[in-house]
């Protein structure tokens, strides 16, 4: 019988679980010691990146709409019954033909936008190289695989590269390149496992919304807990093949991570910022709570993943989209308030990703899978109160329409990611390794950050 041993895991486990099953196993000092053992790069500052994934493909071309002129006329002709009226006209640093109107359900974002902590990124999507309609039709440039397919396009956004044999997410790759991946507190998900946070040697710690999770068998009379924990450790060390070992690894890691995180969260301060009851606000509340204890975790770089589903508005878009945008805007503004309260506004950047934009044409009461879209970028370091990239001309059968009102992105999503990675601390030389296709573009064309 072979027993597979993942040395780093065993070492980590034995460090974490020193003292048997005691719930109060680790002090923050010990955690500091632990993270120092594991982190070979000594970064001097702290930064966190919060990814909000809008599952289903947000119709973000309806989030920012033209307010006047020919762009408005084209938009109204294209969108017909799904037109957004009463858009809030934004004053952007850069002027755009037709103006920039924000969906009225997102009014709670205007104070943050006006304060310079929020920017939009327009006309962005998955691309492998600059692509024109002629290129698309003649197939003269490589295109991302399986355009318009949910899970493939989600993966392309989260991988930050086309599908290859070894698929890893760009969030995880950044942590690994910065040697920040070994501590579980560096990679936290409120929305389960996901490609963005899955790397060669890292996968996210899934934090529950409520934060602290009790582990039933390890609560109660200490001698019994110690005995039971000893047996669990023996069982988890006894595996016979890699798949079984992966299971044991997950369970063992879950137990130690939860115990450690519980200890830290119990020390978290109470914020004055109130979060709403909606799911996204609750996820971001948990992120804010984690940020409040970042000093104790010892992680110098953290990535967080939260998500909001329901954007696949094939039907009932007129009622579903305002609700989704309202939830998103509310959660974002609450979160930025909490970050500001923690005085971490220059250390924390929040950004959105989504499967794809949606068709300009309607299927009656909804839209189908499209391509280019708009994204949000928020934080004190962000070059805010502006739209970076472009306001797309929403014209069916126009020069960007590959069919049905699916618009070719004018900026690659890797042009969106690269400045974020640079802000996070990656040297420019490594950005091209992180995002292989970004070479084919003017990588830093969009000045997303105040640097």
């Amino acid at each position: 019988m072979t027993t597979y041993n993942d040395k780093s895991r065993r070492a980590f486990l034995s460090l974490c679980l020193k003292g048997g099953a005691s719930v109060a196993a680790l002090t923050s000092l010990q955690l500091h010691a632990l993270s120092n053992t594991l982190n070979s790069t000594n970064l001097t500052d702290y930064k966190a990146l919060v990814c909000i994934f809008l599952h289903g493909g947000s119709d973000s071309l309806n989030m920012l709409v033209p307010t006047s002129g020919q762009y408005r006329t084209n938009y109204e002709q294209s969108r017909q019954n799904l037109v957004v009226t009463d858009a809030i006209s934004l004053t952007t640093k850069t002027q755009f033909e037709g103006g920039v109107g924000l969906h009225p359900s997102m009014s709670s974002l205007t104070p943050i936008f006006d304060s310079g902590q929020l920017a939009f990124v327009g006309g962005v999507g998955t691309l492998m190289a600059p692509t024109t309609l002629t290129d698309y039709k003649s197939k003269s440039v490589s295109l991302p695989g399986h355009l318009f397919s949910h899970n493939d396009q989600q993966a392309t956004w989260m991988h930050g590269q086309e599908k290859i044999s070894l698929n890893t997410g760009w969030g995880a790759r950044m942590l690994e390149r910065l040697n920040q991946h070994s501590s579980f507190t560096s990679n936290i998900s409120l929305a389960g496992s996901n490609p963005w946070q899955t790397g060669v040697n890292t996968s996210p710690y899934a934090l529950s919304r409520s934060g602290v999770m009790k582990i039933n068998p390890l609560s109660g009379y200490q001698p019994q807990v110690d005995h039971v924990k000893g047996i669990i450790d023996r069982l988890l060390a006894n595996t016979n093949n890699p798949i079984q070992d992966a299971y044991a690894n997950r369970l063992g890691r879950s137990i130690s991570n939860v115990q450690n995180m519980n200890n830290l969260l119990e020390q978290a301060p109470t914020l004055t910022t109130q979060f709403s009851d909606n799911d996204l606000s609750q996820q971001l509340a948990a992120v804010a709570k984690s940020l409040s204890i970042q000093a104790q975790t010892g992680s110098q770089r953290q990535i967080f993943f939260v998500s909001l589903g329901g954007f696949d508005t094939h039907d009932e878009q007129l009622t579903r989209q305002p609700a989704l945008f309202s939830t998103l805007a509310t959660a974002l503004s609450e979160f930025q308030s909490a970050v500001n309260e923690l005085a971490l506004q220059n250390n924390v950047t929040t950004f959105t990703m989504s499967d794809f934009g949606r068709t300009l044409t309607s299927n009656g009461d909804g839209t189908d899978h499209g391509w280019a879209g708009n994204q949000l970028l928020m934080g004190g370091a962000v070059n805010g109160q502006d739209l970076h990239g472009t306001m797309l001309d929403q014209q069916v059968n126009g020069p960007l329409d590959v069919g049905g009102g699916r618009l070719i992105p004018q900026y690659a999503n890797e042009q969106y990611f690269a400045p974020i990675a640079k802000w996070f601390g990656l040297p420019e030389s490594e950005i091209y390794e992180l995002f292989p296709n970004s070479r084919n573009f003017d990588t830093f064309a969009m000045p997303l950050f105040n640097m």
């Binding site: 389960g192 039933n216 047996i231 595996t239 016979n240 798949i243 094939h314 039907d315």
Partner: protein, 676 residues
């Protein structure tokens, strides 16, 4: 089964004088063959029929035809053989008797085996042959042929053959191994009932069993006049725990993870009858034809709402309205062919540059989107006044169906003017006939039932059955399921396969405990409200049409290994802890025998049978029992020792406490959670 072949009587002459007085009864003096069918003497009396084992002295036989008609020849013994009347099992010792008509004195007997896996023959020179049949080496039956030559004192011989078909008699462990793949978690009674049967017998019994539908279990919510979402879950538990047609229930559950609908976060939450009808539809078609299943899925109003082709209209160019593409896309990507062209063995076809070849483009999506226009709830008075009947298949309104031509796969085009019903039939035929369907569906069913990483050869064997069940039928799901379970890669008789199993799905481990421990509440309610947040999954509760986990999910631990482990996609920290907490709550806090009083609402586990084993036969006997029921034989020594040491702490507790603690530790052990 008894097959008696009385082939021929050889009328053999040793001379015109009517035989010799020699007692020679063994080797013929002039045999032209060492075949066991050679008769004594050099003259055989007649043509031995269609016997392949006949002597090759055919010319002699023909030449001697005339001599056989001589009046003065002797009479060879008249011999029959009697084989066991019942089903013969591998590894058994059986007796084959000779039956002589007439004078049985002074006969000699020679028994030999002439075909089949080698058996041990005892008393091969006596009237009754004792055969020790070989042990099980494959799931298929063994055909063994034995030859008997009886020679009388005149040297006249008679040759007969007997064929024995020996079938498997599964041991309890073998039965447990099959049942963990083919049930929702076997009980000991089910394992005992299957033991002694062959794999095929058990599967055939299951295939023929009456379907247990879930709708009869769907009750109204207390004090309400209709069922609630939780009543659908309640019905699922009741049927899943008690249904005798476990193989069908397991396959339907697997299908529910391929043809995904969900009321986890959709308006379908308010339609428990519709959701239950959908599950029943999967049950009904589990052993039917894939084409019928695909049509039933397509026309289900629940699917129509979930993937929004219900109420989907033809294009209206003035308003820039096109048909909804949702179902068109997912029926191809997820329900039939997948994104890339596949070989029969499930591997991707590659073009000259080594790239995968997409199965469809926007053209086909647009075509199928037009196909699925014009359909709405059955018996709707008008298109805009839908009946909201969630249980009957959808029906079309021709004026809302696109009459344009529709591009399908393989450059097939439905001509303009084709109606809704006919377009749908043509489109589903087009999908069904695509060569990807067999490997795409076969592999996923293997992954749901047997193992995460089937070899391409295994996938190909099943895909071949999918394409032709042996009698020319494509898409015979019963044949596919049977082939999956009988395959050597599932049964593992002849080879050791690497990575031969899968991680069990958390909801199925819970169900396994509930089945073995007769989980029940006094009010007979199974209201489990938080399955998704506790176990990361639940019946028809997927977060999206992409199921709880993808069939190609590679956890970070396996990135370099070439292996996938789909079920680990939901093995997040919080799910792992909440799952193990859920088991703790079931197995320890809610073990009925540990309670003095029972709350009528609470679902309790009843451990009496196991407690009784512990009390009467001791810990090792209980662990032997667990090794069969929960581990299907894969409890390692290390796991056993850990369980013994666990129990040492609880020795002075009640037997119910000890059983609870042991069960809980079983529930989290890697040996239990890996279905091997």
């Amino acid at each position: 089964m008894k097959t008696l072949v009385l082939l021929i009587t050889f009328l053999a002459l040793t001379g015109c004088g009517g035989g010799s007085d020699s007692n020679s009864n063994v080797a013929p003096e002039n045999s032209s063959s060492d075949s066991p069918t050679s008769s004594t003497g050099n003259n055989t009396g007649s043509q031995p029929g269609d016997n392949n084992e006949q002597p090759d002295n055919t010319d002699d036989t023909n030449n001697d035809q005339d001599s056989g008609t001589q009046d003065d020849i002797g009479v060879a013994p008249i011999v029959d053989v009697k084989t066991p009347g019942n089903i013969v099992r591998k590894g058994a010792t059986i007796v084959i008797d000779s039956v002589i008509t007439g004078d049985s004195s002074e006969l000699t007997y020679v028994w030999t085996q002439i075909a089949g896996p080698a058996a041990t023959l005892v008393n091969s020179n006596s009237p009754s042959l004792t055969v020790i049949l070989p042990e099980t080496s494959s799931p298929n039956q063994d055909d063994l042929v034995f030859a008997l030559t009886v020679t009388n004192n005149e040297g006249l011989s008679t040759y007969t053959e007997a064929t024995i078909e020996s079938v498997n008699a599964m041991s309890e462990l073998q039965a447990a191994s099959l049942l963990q793949q083919g049930t929702l978690g076997p009980t000991y009674a089910e394992i005992q009932s299957a033991a002694g049967k062959s794999e095929e017998e058990w599967i055939n019994e299951q295939l023929e069993m009456q379907t247990t539908y879930h709708m009869p279990f769907l009750e109204n919510y207390p004090d309400k006049e209709q069922p609630n979402h939780i009543n659908r879950i309640d019905a699922w538990w009741k049927a899943s725990i008690n249904a005798p047609d476990q193989l069908r229930q397991r396959v339907a559950f697997a299908l529910s993870e391929i043809f995904v609908v969900s009321d986890a976060n959709s308006a379908l939450r308010g339609e428990p009858e519709g959701m239950t009808t959908y599950y029943d539809m999967l049950l009904k078609n589990a052993f039917g034809n894939f084409r019928t299943l695909l049509e039933s899925v397509t026309l289900s109003p629940v699917m129509g709402v979930y993937l929004s082709h219900l109420g989907n209209e033809k294009a209206d160019l003035e308003k820039n309205i096109r048909p909804d593409e949702n179902y068109a896309r997912e029926v191809m990507q997820l329900f039939t062919i997948g994104l890339d062209e596949l070989n029969l063995d499930g591997t991707k076809k590659l073009d000259n540059d080594g790239n995968a070849i997409p199965t469809y483009s926007q053209t086909e999506i647009g075509g199928f989107a037009k196909v699925f226009t014009g359909w709405t709830f059955a018996y709707s008075a008008r298109w805009n006044r839908p009946s909201k009947n969630y249980t009957l298949p959808m029906q079309p309104f021709s004026e809302y169906h696109s009459s344009q031509e529709k591009h399908l796969l393989n450059n097939e085009v439905i001509p303009a003017g084709t109606g809704a019903e006919e377009s749908m039939q043509l489109a589903l035929d087009n999908l069904f006939m695509h060569p990807n369907v067999a490997p795409f569906i076969s592999k996923q069913l293997i992954q749901r039932l047997v193992k995460s990483n089937p070899t391409p050869a295994y996938v190909q064997r099943i895909a071949l059955i999918f394409n032709d069940n042996g009698t020319g039928t494509r898409g015979d799901m019963a044949a596919v399921v049977k082939a999956i379970l009988l395959d050597d890669e599932a049964r593992k008789y002849s080879s050791v396969f690497e990575h031969s199993g899968k991680i069990k799905e958390p909801i199925l481990t819970k169900l396994h405990f509930w089945r073995t421990l007769n989980a029940a509440s006094q009010l007979n309610r199974y209201y489990t409200w938080n399955l998704q947040s506790t176990y990361g999954q639940g019946p028809l509760l997927s977060p999206s049409v992409f199921n709880f986990f993808r069939p190609d999910h590679k956890p970070s631990e396996l990135l370099n290994s070439g292996l996938v482990a789909p079920e680990l996609q939901i093995a997040t920290d919080s799910n792992m802890i909440s799952t193990t907490n859920g088991h703790y709550s079931d197995l320890i806090w809610r073990m009925a025998e540990r309670k003095n009083t029972l709350n009528p609402n609470t679902i309790y586990m009843y451990g009496a049978a196991q407690i009784s084993i512990l009390e009467s036969a001791g810990l090792q006997a209980l662990l032997d029992h667990y090794n069969i029921v929960y581990f299907a034989g894969s409890m390692s020594d290390a796991t056993r020792n850990a369980l013994v040491d666990l129990d040492s702490y609880f020795l002075n507790r009640s037997p119910a406490d000890r059983v609870s603690q042991l069960l809980y530790m079983v529930s989290l052990s890697p040996d239990f959670n890996y279905q091997n």
